[in-house]
């Protein structure tokens, strides 16, 4: 290592109202290194990113690039020359085309649309993103949007790139392609700051790791000097390793079928799906981006109306395409995108978590504030939600904690069928455990669980895993599968 | 706002109907002048901006402040019934100017006959056009009683006396731009239009002249292409146009007399005087419109090239 660090945060602090998001945190990244930043939800990672990208200025401390003070906050152009970033929150502009999003504010003063689209196409091809550059960005799926954001950040030519949980919404192949790309960039001397809750990814691509805990810096070390357990211990402040996934007792064969999906078809998404989930059983569903798995789960949850086929819960047909009907039939749903359809940002944690059970919080539609707070407090304890209190607006929560609120809401009705879509996206290791624990507890008490996920860690909790490919179930793997089985099936490789 | 100590004379309040019309602004200028002349203790006039709810609010505020008589010009003649009843209970006499309330009693109504305006305009145009031709009429708003009176009288007169004249009645909501657009469209449809009746010179005069000028239709009365124009209001600009031969006549709505006699009757009411139907000393007639409602119908002369220099016309007194 020669010369000044490529990027430096010196004793930075940041407060939001009464919340200290960063307390006297220093970070120094050597030129050319790939630096990991890990910590639990709400530890302050994204806040540090906002300081390093100049979107916010620190209350105390300073940011330096190559030993020089950072540009003044209003000079966005200067910041963008120094740092590019994939933000945790989407910065896609829905009503503009993909091409324009990719080259936002650097289209040239007079735009030649043909050229722009061709450049966009090249860029997308380079990153293996199968998206039409002329498409409206808002029409893309979550993961396609994420890929566009990544492609945009990587193409900016900055020598320092920040990726805030870029993999949370990607499937395995896309992640692998991203890593290839990152290694190539790294080889050309680009400095990177990488944030993820998947610790194995940290080992895979990073050379140094920094841990934040409760807004404070805990440790910085080369990755090969801290093993997995040590890393988790640093993040959580407890010297216990991750508990291995305990095997679940087999579901009794006489358990009733709680959810029956028969001949379900949604034109353009999936065809003739038959699934039975028994009470107490956890069934995983995985597949690639266009496999139709999310659409399937959304149909069961009442968000979409199938073109053909039936969903039966507890022996009764569920009126299709109606969330209230699904709720009445005992189906709870954790939707895919917590920002879009999960949460109402300005309402409090308590109200968000209790939306479907508001009727039970008082007579004649009256929502008793004391009951509301008490119920919410119980959720906060049960799911370990980090918040200043039940009355805090849910928009003030970190991503992972927000996800816990969504799960709490789905479980609030004590559903007999629980449908989860990527339930642990963006959730830290420890919270992930508690989230999945909550799911297992629900299953243990007889809830049937249908869990759509790309994460092998999630799927490990399932009694069996269905793999979808181009709208059909192509494999059903009983517990005990190996990772390669799943990956092969997801990629559609015939065995 | 509180009445100044003009020797303890009872304060009289005036509410102005709107601030964006030349006619009413002239009226507003006459009010303090005549008040001074008559030795009236005038409270600061309020303005109800053509909004009946504001008029009611203003009346209530003026009453709280101790007005002993109120002069108002309700542009919406139905919506003051309750207010009039309340004022009657409080024994505060009311003089209405320009409009007559549909219901409720007032001490005196001071107005010129709006139906007569429409009538006069019709007769003038009919005579000039020899009973045949096409006339475009810029109506005010249907929801304004004065506009409606003028429209109805004009229509009735045209129908009965000059059936050979086709009338195009254009609703304008008192907007110059709407009148201009309607005239432009009509002229494209009927290039032979040869008469115009505009119900308010203040709003329609300039747009009409401007449009005719660009179409080269602003020609002297001798010319066969001449379009006969009758206006209404009697503002100085209309007189100017008459002198130039751009328009042919206007009905002078007496802004000065409105102010003068409104204050006169308000003072008389405070002094406890009463009036009877019949001729007055100022060239007008008091008529009993319905029991309990007297109306002093002021003269509203038709002004043409012949009498436009008459210095008694208010439009000639006010300067421009």
């Amino acid at each position: 290592m020669t010369g000044a660090p490529a990027v430096e945060a010196v004793n930075t602090s940041k407060r939001f109202g009464a919340t200290t998001a960063l307390h006297d945190v220093s970070l120094s990244i050597a030129p050319g290194s790939t630096h990991a930043l890990v910590g639990r939800n709400g530890a302050g990672k994204s806040t540090l990113v906002s300081l390093l990208t100049g979107l916010q200025s620190p209350d105390a401390g300073a940011v330096r690039f190559d030993g020089e003070p950072a540009p003044p906050v209003p000079d966005r152009a200067a910041w963008r020359r120094r740092v590019a970033c994939v933000f945790q929150r989407s910065t896609i502009i829905a009503d503009l085309s993909v091409a324009e999003n990719l080259f936002l504010n650097r289209q040239g003063d007079v735009i030649r649309w043909g050229t722009l689209r061709r450049r966009a196409q090249q860029l997308l091809d380079e990153y293996g993103v199968d998206v039409d550059p002329a498409a409206r960005a808002g029409d893309l799926g979550v993961e396609q949007r994420q890929l566009v954001e990544i492609a945009r950040a990587l193409s900016q030519g900055a020598r320092f790139i920040i990726l805030d949980e870029p993999t949370a919404r990607l499937d395995a192949t896309a992640i692998e392609r991203l890593f290839v790309r990152l290694r190539a960039l790294s080889a050309t001397g680009v400095t990177m700051l990488f944030i993820s809750h998947h610790l194995q990814e940290v080992y895979e691509v990073c050379d140094t790791v920094t841990v934040l805990r409760d807004a404070r810096h805990v440790l910085t070390a080369p990755v090969d000097t801290v093993d997995h357990d040590a890393l988790v211990a640093a993040m959580t402040g407890e010297a216990v390793g991750l508990t291995a996934v305990g095997a679940r007792p087999p579901v009794p064969p006489d358990a009733q079928v709680a959810l029956r999906v028969a001949g379900l078809t949604l034109r353009g998404s999936y065809t003739s799906i038959d699934v039975d989930v028994r009470a107490g059983e956890i069934v995983g569903v995985t597949g690639s981006g266009s496999s139709g798995k999310v659409a399937l789960a959304e149909t069961v949850g009442g968000l979409r109306r199938a073109t053909a086929g039936t969903v039966t819960a507890g022996g009764r047909d569920v009126t299709p395409g109606s969330v209230p009907a699904a709720l009445a039939a005992g189906i709870g749903l954790v939707p895919q995108d917590r920002h879009r359809e999960g949460l109402i940002p300005r309402l409090s944690v308590a109200e968000n978590a209790t939306l479907p059970i508001a009727a039970s919080l008082g007579p004649a539609g009256y929502v008793s504030p004391t009951k509301l707070a008490a119920t919410a407090r119980a959720f906060i304890d049960r799911f370990d939600i980090h918040t200043s209190g039940p009355a805090a607006p849910v928009s003030s929560l970190s991503g992972g904690n927000a996800q816990k609120v969504v799960l709490a809401r789905a479980l609030s009705t004590a559903p007999s069928v629980l449908v989860l879509i990527n339930p642990t996206a963006g959730v830290d290791v420890r919270s992930k455990e508690s989230l999945l624990d909550a799911v297992r507890t629900a299953a243990d008490t007889g809830t049937a669980v249908l869990m759509v996920s790309d994460e092998l860690d999630d799927l490990r909790h399932c009694d069996r895993v269905l793999v979808m490919f181009h709208g059909r179930v192509v494999a059903a793997l009983p517990a005990g599968w190996s990772d390669t089985d799943v990956v092969a099936a997801v990629e559609g490789v015939n065995r | 706002a509180t009445p100044e100590s003009t020797g303890g004379t009872p304060p009289i309040a005036v509410d102005l109907p709107r601030a964006d019309s030349d006619f009413w602004n002239s009226y507003a200028k006459y009010v303090p002048a005549f008040a001074k002349e008559a030795g009236i203790n005038l409270m600061t006039p309020t303005n109800s901006q053509n909004d009946i709810a504001k008029l009611v609010a203003n009346t209530q505020a003026l009453t709280s402040q101790g007005a002993k008589a109120i002069v108002m010009a309700p542009q919406d003649t139905g919506a003051i019934a309750t207010t009039l009843t309340q004022l009657e209970q409080k024994k505060i006499p009311v003089v209405t100017v320009d409009t007559r309330p549909d219901k409720g009693n007032v001490y005196m109504v001071v107005r010129a006959d709006n139906r007569a305006y429409g009538q006069k305009a019709c007769e003038f145009l009919g005579a000039k056009l020899n009973g045949k031709g096409k006339v475009i009429e810029f109506q005010g708003s249907l929801s304004s009683v004065n506009g409606r009176d003028r429209s109805e009288a004009f229509a009735e007169c045209m129908q009965s006396k000059f059936p050979g004249i086709t009338v195009f009645a254009e609703p304008t909501d008192w907007e110059g731009a709407k009148a201009s657009a309607a005239l432009q469209t009509r002229l494209a449809q009927h290039p032979d239009i040869n008469g115009i009746y505009m119900q308010a010179g203040g709003v329609f005069l300039a747009p009409t002249l401007q449009l005719l000028r660009t179409k080269n239709l602003l020609v002297p009365p001798g010319d066969p292409k001449h379009i006969f124009i009758v206006s209404n209001d009697g503002i100085p600009q209309e007189f100017e146009a008459i002198r130039k031969g751009e328009i042919d006549a206007t009905v002078s709505q007496p802004a000065d007399l409105y102010a003068k006699y409104a204050l006169f009757y308000a003072k008389a009411a405070v002094d406890g005087k009463t009036f009877q139907p019949g001729r007055t000393d100022h060239d007008s007639t008091i008529v009993q419109v319905r029991p309990g409602l007297l109306e002093d119908q002021l003269p509203a002369p038709l002004v043409t090239k012949d009498n436009v220099e008459d210095s008694a016309l208010w439009g000639n007194q006010i300067g421009k």
């Binding site: 109202g17 359809e341 109402i344 300005r346 309402l347 939306l355 | 003051i80 019934a81 219901k103």
Partner: protein, 330 residues
């Protein structure tokens, strides 16, 4: 990360936002008292309140719609059309009625029904047909006013059955009935929006309609009901105005919609949905009413009164901004 101060400040902030306009109101009260001692007399204060009753009902309606993330411009013409149509159906043709001469006891129910139908029609076009709320209700505004002029020929209706005049005229315990009524309706509104499931659903829908739907709220149905209730409230406002002024004016309600939005937005209701309280909106109504009253009492010259009025609104706005320190949106 300490929690206690955060919780406190959270509550304090929410409260504060509600009380944003209280300093402005206090300033206005002091200024009014200085301008004219009559200002603080109970008669004057009651007058101010009564004059604002109709506006306040529209603001109540619009606030709930805005919180639900929608828009309704047509309220102001419902204020005119509903009483006009209701009355025209019961009075004889000789008094400008439609000639149906239905029993006059039906007038009040008919008026409210017209409001309900207008709201239902708005809801239909916006929710079922997926049309833009702004432009539907603007079209409706023009159409309804046009209907009123068409039905009445632009004339005022002034021979009204006593039942129609009662609500806007009666006095109970020394206070106009309309003030009691508004107070009651606002109390109900505040309670429903603050503590009842369906009221909270309106906030949820306005805050994020997709999330509300995913949480099982029947958002279309809720919003539809909101539009209908708003229509009824507008008709009620029209009824009060008719009673207070003693006739149905052809221009009844005209230009009110600007003031409705002004009151709601000054009162902290967001045009983007999901934010605002009825209490705040009510304060907005009061501020506008007090300003008008003070300007009248002060005898500001007719020539400048409008400019002064506009300026004071801007100043009140800046005052609210300074006292809360929160940026306002949209």
């Amino acid at each position: 990360m300490t929690t206690v101060p955060a919780r406190l400040s959270g509550i304090r902030l929410a409260r504060m936002r509600d009380l944003t306009l209280v300093p402005a109101i206090l300033v206005l009260l002091v200024v009014g008292a200085i301008v004219d001692p009559v200002f603080l007399s109970s008669t004057n204060i009651i007058n101010v309140l009564q004059q604002q009753t109709e506006l306040s009902l529209l603001v109540l309606a619009e606030t709930v719609i805005l919180i639900g993330g929608r828009f309704d411009l047509s309220l102001e013409s419902t204020v005119g059309l509903a009483p006009a149509l209701g009355v025209a159906l019961v009075i004889p043709a000789a008094s400008n009625g439609l000639g149906t001469s239905w029993p006059s006891a039906l007038a009040v129910p008919l008026i409210l029904l017209v409001g309900l139908l207008v709201g239902a029609l708005n809801g239909l076009l916006i929710l079922r047909f997926g049309l833009s709320a702004f432009i539907v209700t603007l079209g409706m505004l023009i159409t309804l006013r046009g209907l009123q002029i068409g039905i009445t020929g632009g004339k005022n209706l002034f021979e009204l059955p006593p039942s129609v005049l009662y609500l806007g005229n009666a006095t109970w315990l020394g206070l106009p009935l309309s003030i009691w009524l508004c107070g009651l309706l606002f109390a109900i509104g505040i309670a429903v929006l603050g503590w009842f499931r369906h009221g909270r659903a309106v906030y949820a829908i306005g805050g994020n309609v997709d999330a509300a739907r995913a949480a099982g709220i029947r958002s279309d149905r809720v919003i539809w009901i909101v539009f209908m209730v708003a229509g009824v409230l507008a008709a009620l406002a029209g009824l009060l105005m008719t009673g207070r002024l003693g006739s149905v004016a052809a221009a009844q309600g005209e230009k009110m919609i600007f003031m409705v939005f002004a009151a709601a937005v000054i009162g902290g209701v967001s045009m983007n949905g999901g934010k605002g309280t009825l209490f705040g909106a009510l304060c907005g109504v009061l501020v506008l009413g007090l300003i008008t009253n003070i300007l009248t009492l002060a005898g500001v010259s007719a020539q400048w009164i409008q400019a002064v009025y506009g300026l004071i609104i801007l100043i009140a706005l800046i005052l609210a901004r300074v006292t809360t320190g929160k940026a306002q949106d949209s």
